[in-house]
């Protein structure tokens, strides 16, 4: 465990070396959220609410989901690059689990972005437009838990696709397609409240709403009591399922590794 924490810490510290990146990261997040809010301001027009959803709720949804999607982004070509240039062989010899090491490093850099990209962006956006307060202190706390679970869901989805590099020439195309599906169905660009019912029903059976939308709902207090517990459980369930699938691909794939020379 110590080793993984060190991996995470190292990635976290690495990022401090680029202050310009931090500034741009904040600007990027703020700009994206502001633009999406402008679009919905125009869509709402004079209406104070649509289907019981107020504009502030939409703005809150965008701030959380778009902001976090910036935090949650990491190098998705990592495994493929390691495999292509053969350095994966050195990695496999190390006495640490390669998967968990990848996760630890990604968590390290995401932690940095959470503190130095997301938090400042939240402050700026709160000045610009009205953002809903959390329903209660507990809902903020539970949301934090849910965000972490959401991160794992997204990470595992990416990991599964990354392992396909053992079979196909380049995972880039499939990775892009995966991200298209995630972007549309997870509610970052289109709040799930406004998704057509038929599509919404399908999304309920996918892991995508477990990434950002469950945390948003918890924050706004849209789910409480039993329903809230169920939402958190659904996140855990998806983590379990995706972990199992990822493990399956990883075990099969790693057997195919043949490194020539060094």
């Amino acid at each position: 465990m110590r080793a993984y924490i060190e991996f995470a810490k190292k990635k976290f510290q690495n990022q401090i070396a680029y202050p310009m990146e931090v500034f741009m990261g904040i600007l990027n997040t703020v700009l994206t959220v502001v633009i999406f809010c402008s679009i919905y301001r125009a869509l709402y027009g004079e209406k104070s609410q649509v289907d019981g959803i107020t504009f502030s709720m939409v703005a809150t949804n965008f701030l959380i989901s778009l902001g976090l999607s910036e935090v949650f982004s990491f190098d998705e070509m990592f495994l493929q690059n390691k495999y292509r240039d053969g350095t994966i062989s050195n990695e496999l010899l190390k006495p640490v689990n390669f998967k968990f090491r990848m996760l630890a490093e990604n968590i390290g850099s995401s932690g940095f972005k959470l503190l130095f990209h997301f938090m400042p962006a939240v402050l700026f956006t709160c000045c610009y437009t009205s953002i809903c307060k959390p329903k209660s202190p507990e809902s903020l706390l539970l949301m934090a838990v849910s965000v972490m679970l959401g991160y794992l869901v997204l990470w595992l989805l990416s990991f599964i696709v990354q392992t396909w590099c053992f079979w196909i020439f380049s995972t880039w195309g499939i990775m892009v397609m995966k991200n298209v599906v995630v972007n549309i169905l997870s509610g970052t660009m289109l709040p799930l409240w406004f998704m057509p019912d038929s599509l919404r029903k399908i999304v309920a059976y996918t892991p995508f709403q477990a990434i950002y939308f469950v945390p948003v709902q918890i924050y706004l207090g849209q789910v409480e009591g039993i329903v809230l517990a169920k939402s958190l459980l659904s996140q855990l369930l998806w983590i379990g399922i995706l972990y199992f699938i990822g493990e399956l691909f990883w075990r099969q794939g790693i057997r195919r590794v043949v490194v020539q020379g060094g």
Partner: protein, 268 residues
């Protein structure tokens, strides 16, 4: 001039051939680009199923607005792929190679590489959107509108090509220009498909006067569609839209000529 054109065609052929080495991967990547770019379109379509229109623009008018963005970009990546990735080129020292050849620098940069995958992905989407929307937005296609439209496309290519040249010229002053491009080109391009009238004044001015995306699609579309939100801007803008590209390009060219003198190799 003829010689340069021959080189350009030869280079385009080579770009295509080198991609065809990995046929399955190229097809997959083209689909990927197509769907990545279509994300925004799918989102708008789904959103407008709920809200009907945005600031008076219905779904077909929105598709028309976006089609101009994709069509122009597909031409740009054939011509300006090297200038798009220019800071990378400088870092790797590949730019030095061009200095040794007996041709103009910009000519070489423009004719050298083509991003075939992006051109196909964006181009297909642009044509698809145009076909879907052009008959349904109430434009009477006659000689003058067609000429205007073609002019707007050329101008749109020159505007964005000019922006790439200016950003590339910045590379002679600053080591890293990636984040500058990220904010002022890529990020803005994501939203340039929306009618600019929905944004606040700051962003509007940015899109009209600084990085003039508004002249790539919004004003040309206004000439053809005449939506009520045009009242917020001088009518002159829709008439000058097909010419703004030449103006931007001239500035960019001047700035490039001025800046390229400062170039010092990063060495290798």
């Amino acid at each position: 001039m003829i010689g340069e054109l021959k080189i350009a065609i030869q280079a385009l052929k080579m770009s295509c051939l080198s991609r065809l080495q990995y046929r399955a991967d190229t097809i997959l990547a083209t689909f990927a680009v197509f769907f990545r770019e279509a994300t925004g379109i799918i989102v708008i379509y789904l959103t407008l199923l709920k809200f009907d229109s945005i600031h008076g623009w219905n779904v077909y008018e929105m598709l028309f607005l976006f089609s101009l963005l994709f069509l122009t970009y597909s031409i740009i990546v054939i011509l300006y792929a090297d200038l798009r990735d220019f800071s990378c080129m400088i870092r790797e020292g590949r730019f030095d190679l061009l200095l040794l050849r007996p041709r103009g620098l910009l000519v070489q940069l423009i004719s050298n590489n083509a991003d075939v995958i992006a051109a196909l992905g964006h181009g297909t989407l642009g044509i698809l959107l145009f076909v879907l929307s052009a008959g349904k937005v109430g434009i009477t296609w006659n000689f003058s509108t067609i000429i205007y439209y073609l002019g707007a496309v050329i101008s749109g290519v020159l505007i964005q090509g000019g922006i790439f040249i200016i950003f590339s010229a910045f590379s002679f002053y600053f080591v890293e220009t990636g984040s500058l491009r990220e904010i002022f080109y890529w990020n803005m391009r994501k939203f340039a498909g929306y009618p600019i009238s929905i944004f606040n004044k700051w962003i509007q001015s940015l899109m009209i006067y600084v990085v003039p995306f508004a002249f790539v699609n919004y004003f040309p579309a206004q000439f053809l569609l005449r939506k009520p939100d045009m009242a917020e801007y001088p009518t002159l803008y829709i008439y000058i839209a097909p010419f703004v590209g030449f103006f931007v390009y001239l500035i960019a060219y001047g700035f490039w000529r001025f800046s390229v003198k400062r170039y010092e190799s990063t060495g290798n």
